[in-house]
Structure formats: C-alpha cells, structure tokens
C-alpha cells in the first residue's frame, strides 16, 4: 500500500490544528508571574536597578515595534526615531500645559499613531531600501520642523516640567511602573495582532505577495496598520524616554541611534519572532552596562554582532534556541498534530 492512499483514507478527525505543542495556559501563567514579580521590583531592589530596567523597557518596546515592521511586514524603517521624538514632544507639550507627564503618555501613543498615517502615505510609494532612507529623511524633516518652534525649546530643547513635586525614589518607581505597563501592553498588542487576522495576512504577504493580493488580502491596508501601530509604540517609548531623562533635546530624541539600537537588538535576538527582541534586549543591556565607560564602543560591537548575525545566523539567538528546543513562548503560528 502506497503512502498516498494511506493519507487519503485517514479520517479527518485524526488531525488537530493547535497553536502550540505545549499547553498555552502554562506559558500564559508563566508570563503573568514574571510580570507580577517585575511589578514588585521597586519594593525589593535598589532604585539604580529599576532605573536601568526602565532603559531596558524602552529598548524592548522599540525593538518589538521594529520587529513587527521588518520581521512581519517586511518594512525596513530607518526612521522610527521620528516617532520616538514625536512621543517625547507630545509629553513635553502636554506637561507645559499642566498635564502630568504620566497622564500624557496615552496621548503620546495616540498622537504618534495618528501622525504615522500621513507619513505612511508619503513613504509607502517606495520599496525596500528606498523606503528605508525615505523614512530617515522624514525623521530629519520632522526634527527640523519641531526645531522651528521656540516655545518648546527650539533647537536646544528644554527640561521636562511637572515632575518636580515627586520624591526621587517615588519618581523612579512610578517611571518603572509606567515602563513596565507600556512594555506589557506593547507586547500584548503585538501578540494579539499577530495571532489574529492581521498575522495571517502578513504571513500570506511574506510567502507570496501576488497570491495574497489575488486572494483578497488588503496588502496596503495591512502594511499601513503595522506602520501606525509601530509609530504608536515608538511614541510610547519616546514618552517614557522624556520622563526617564527629564530633558527633551531634539538632536538627542530624533537620533538615528534609536533605530540602530532597535534594529540591532531585533537582528541579534531573532527577527520575526516575538521572543527575539526580548533576548536581544538582554544582550544589549549586558553590553551597554559593561561598556558604559567606553562611549560608543557598545554600539560598534552591537553593530558588528548584528552584521554577523544578518550574514550567518539569520534567525538570531532565538533561532538557535528554537532549533534545539522547539519552543514558542508566544505562539502565533499553527501546529498540525497527527493523533496516533
């Protein structure tokens, strides 16, 4: 009996399509425990540690957004610093008008997302590499326009008001919780988006754009949605940046270094997996903390490692883990199970 007939006679009930090989409830419970433990950190560790973790939250949020763009939608943006910068300025402007910077965070998210719509219209005409540089030009243009308004500091920037009333330890704790909240929400949004219809459409586009179009997938709309979500997410990271640094300076918040960090972190951790940026952020923080006294060296080493990974380990560190253990912490694909 040939294999073909064997599979055709197999009854349909013997197949099951699941999200993961292991029970999703366990990873969900694990994630919840991690978040609760992280939420308790301000009570158990020194404020120096939480301050470092705030930085990690910012990097992780940005990298996850960049991963959504490049890893899932194939949009390599080198201009995500436009949204980081916009996020800081939304927080600054609202703080100047008396709103608490923490309350301004959601506005920064929405504002950056809305700003992404016209910017998408401009850059969506270009593909791959030209898209990348066009987003970069856009980021510089946004910065040059913001520098023209002297009421928000012009070219030199200004300190962020509205946080002077907090005791230093309390401020760090609040910043930490805000950072944790932003990161958890960002990861959750990405996870749910990729699990849902958008994830399917993006996978279809990645496999064959023409086939996806002809089966009715709205390719342009899906890409725009990803660009807007990534803009909003980077805006949130920018808002956090303003609160954690207490200073907004256009040259610093619109620096291409942010995109370099998010891209390198994603490439090193593993492009196109939700777990990748988490792993990449760990590598980034270790490098950055060890080489902190050597100026730009951490960025040089990060860049070299990212180039090496792009050439020789396309799936990044998580890809190496996954190849051995075959695990998904955030299952967004499907497994086909054959019941024996």
């Amino acid at each position: 009996m040939s294999l073909v007939t064997e599979t055709t006679v197999r009854p349909a009930e013997r197949f099951r399509v699941t999200r993961s090989r292991r029970n999703v409830v366990w990873t969900g419970a694990g994630a919840l425990i991690v978040v609760v433990v992280l939420a308790l950190f301000p009570y158990i560790v020194y404020s120096g540690t939480t301050a470092i973790l705030v930085q990690a939250f910012i990097v992780l949020t940005m990298a996850s957004m960049w991963n959504l763009l490049a890893g899932y939608a194939g949009l390599v943006s080198v201009g995500q610093q436009a949204f980081v910068g916009l996020g800081t300025y939304f927080v600054l402007i609202l703080a100047l008008h008396g709103t608490s910077p923490f309350a301004a965070l959601p506005v920064a998210v929405i504002g950056s997302g809305v700003a992404a719509v016209p910017l998408w219209w401009l850059v969506s005409r270009l593909r791959s590499g030209y898209f990348a540089i066009a987003t970069w030009v856009l980021a510089v243009t946004v910065m040059l326009i913001i520098e023209k308004f002297s009421s928000i500091g012009g070219g030199t920037g200004m300190p962020l008001p509205g946080l002077a009333g907090f005791a230093p330890t309390l401020l760090i704790a609040y910043t930490y919780w805000a950072g944790l909240a932003v990161t958890v929400v960002a990861m959750l949004v990405i996870y749910l988006l990729l699990r849902g219809r958008l994830g399917l459409v993006l996978t279809a586009i990645r496999d064959d754009e023409v086939a996806a179009r002809s089966s009715g997938a709205r390719v342009g709309l899906a890409r725009m949605l990803v660009f807007v979500v990534a803009g909003a997410g980077c805006g949130a990271a920018g808002g956090l940046l303003a609160i954690s640094q207490l200073q907004v300076q256009p040259g610093a918040v619109f620096s291409v270094q942010f995109t370099a960090e998010m891209a390198f972190v994603t490439i090193i951790g593993g492009l196109g997996t939700i777990e990748g940026p988490i792993l990449g952020t760990v590598v980034y923080m270790v490098l950055q903390q060890t080489l902190a006294s050597y100026n730009a060296w951490y960025l040089i080493i990060l860049g070299l490692v990212a180039m090496f990974m792009a050439l020789f380990a396309r799936r990044g560190l998580w890809g190496l883990v996954d190849a051995r253990l075959n695990v998904r912490l955030f299952p967004v694909g499907y497994w086909l199970r054959l019941d024996k």
């Binding site: 540089i133 066009a134 040089i300």
Partner: protein, 291 residues
C-alpha cells in the same frame, strides 16, 4: 540679485550632490543594493585624503589619484565579501549589513578621530578664491570645478556603461544576472567592478565635500547619504542625468531656503523632496521601468 546669486550657488552645489548620488544610483541599478553606508564611506575617503596629504605632502588636488583607487579596491573587496554574502541571503540582510556598516564606521570615526570637523586643503587659493559678476554675485572657483568634475564623471559613467566592455557586462548583469552567467559572465566579479566604480565616485564626492565644507563623523549620514538619496528620488530612479537634475533642484531649493532664513537651508531641500514624493513619486525624469 541676491536671489539670482542663490540660484547660481544652488545649481553649482547641485553638481556636488549629483556626485554623491551617482554611486548610490549605480549600486542600486546594478546590484539592487541600497548602500546605507554610502555617506560614511565618502567621509572615510575624505579622512584618508587628509591622512595621505599629511603623510606624503603631495599637492592637495592630486590626493584623489591615491584615494580613488584605494576606495575602488575597498569597494570591490566589500562587494565580493559581505555585500555579496548579504545579497545571497535577502534584501533585508543587505540593508542590515550596510546599516550596520554605517553605524560602525560613524562611531569608529567618532572614537578614533573625535567629533571635531576637519577640512581638506583649507587655505588653498582654489578653495577660498572666487570671482564676481556685478556687485552681488560671487562664485567660488571650487564650486565651479566640482560642478565640472560632476559633469565629467556623469559623462564618463554614461560612456563607460554604454560602450566599454565592462559597461556592457554591467548592463547585461543588471538586466538578468542568471542569463549573463549562462553566457559566460561571472556576475559576482561584474558586481565587484560596478561597486569599485561606485566607490570611486564616492571617494571623489568625499574629497570634494571636504574641500567645500567640513567633514565630521556624522556628515556621512545627515548630509551626504540623505542629500544623495533626495537627489536620486527628485531626479527619478535609475537615470544618470535625472540625478544631476535632482541634485540641482535640491541645491537650488536649499539656497532659496537659506535666503529666507539661514536655518531653513536643509529643511527647504527636504520639503521639495517630500513634495516630489507626494506629487510625482516617479521623479522628474522617469524611465518608468524602475521604481
């Protein structure tokens, strides 16, 4: 009269931007590589020129005789190693590798040569000299020379691509590299040659910019790469003479912006770029096929 002067200056600076842009355009046209390290490599060429002049005491103007071949060899080597390696993988890999290269070069220059800006041949009569037309218009000799060099480079490139042996190979490989391979052309070697030519123009651009203004580690991205790209898009992708037109339009827009307010120079250029992107995304001169 100040406006006429602005326009003349803009046209001449446009030659410099076309010089930046033609290498970027060539590498995209042939290999489909968008080299994000393009500008940083130009800055490297400028720094090499400064080093060569300091060490060998050769006349400043002749430094290109050493720097251009050095950069061309570097281009060939980079293309045959990491760029080809990335091309064999994916478009994303080429972008990540060139972006990585850009960040590594820029921060490396920052570490070893500080953030200070430096010029090439300052004090040279050609660099500081100028002639006047009437009382308002003053034209620097250097900009005229750079514009002439840009036109000569573009003419040379066009001649090279249309009638030389390697030019024909490059065009064949750009059209269909598998078919060219079957016909006996080693496309990897041809890509290397194209990269060497592109890097040669990058070297000229870097030296010219170092004489016209000052080179600093960040000049490569915030000025050279972005202006080169804007010139390419304004002129139309894949057209050499479009690149010159794009450079001129960008230069004129910047100089008119600088007339309005000195801080608006860069912004005015980018606004024209965005207007072209919004209204005529195929560029001013378009061949239609490449987009």
């Amino acid at each position: 009269m100040a406006w006429v002067n602005a326009i003349i200056q803009g046209v001449l600076v446009g030659g410099l931007y076309a010089l930046f842009a033609c290498g970027l355009s060539l590498m995209f046209g042939v290999m489909k590589v968008v080299n994000l390290a393009h500008g940083d490599l130009a800055v490297v060429a400028g720094y090499v020129a400064i080093g060569v002049i300091t060490v060998t005491h050769i006349p400043v103007l002749w430094s290109f005789l050493i720097v251009v071949p050095v950069m061309a060899v570097l281009g060939y080597v980079l293309q045959r190693t990491i760029l080809q390696g990335a091309l064999d993988r994916s478009v994303l890999a080429t972008l990540m590798v060139t972006f990585g290269l850009s960040v590594v070069i820029e921060n490396g220059l920052l570490q070893f040569f500080t953030a200070n800006s430096r010029g090439i041949g300052t004090g040279l009569a050609l660099v500081s000299g100028s002639f006047s037309i009437g009382s308002q218009i003053q034209i620097g000799y250097l900009l005229v020379v750079i514009f002439a060099v840009a036109v000569v480079v573009l003419l040379g490139l066009q001649h090279f691509l249309s009638s030389s042996r390697y030019g024909r190979l490059i065009r064949a490989v750009a059209d269909d590299k598998e078919a060219a391979q079957l016909a006996g052309a080693d496309y990897r070697h041809v890509f290397g040659i194209a990269a060497a030519v592109a890097f040669g123009t990058v070297a000229l651009g870097g030296i010219a910019y170092g004489m016209y203004a000052q080179l600093a580690p960040t000049t490569g991205t915030d000025t050279i790469l972005l202006f080169a790209f804007a010139a390419v898009v304004i002129g139309g992708l894949g057209s050499l003479w479009g690149t010159l037109l794009g450079g001129v339009v960008l230069g004129v827009a910047q100089q008119i912006g600088a007339q309005i307010s000195i801080s608006d120079e860069t912004l005015a250029g980018f606004i024209v770029f965005l207007a072209v992107l919004a209204l005529r995304p195929q560029g001013l001169i378009s061949r239609g096929a490449q987009s």
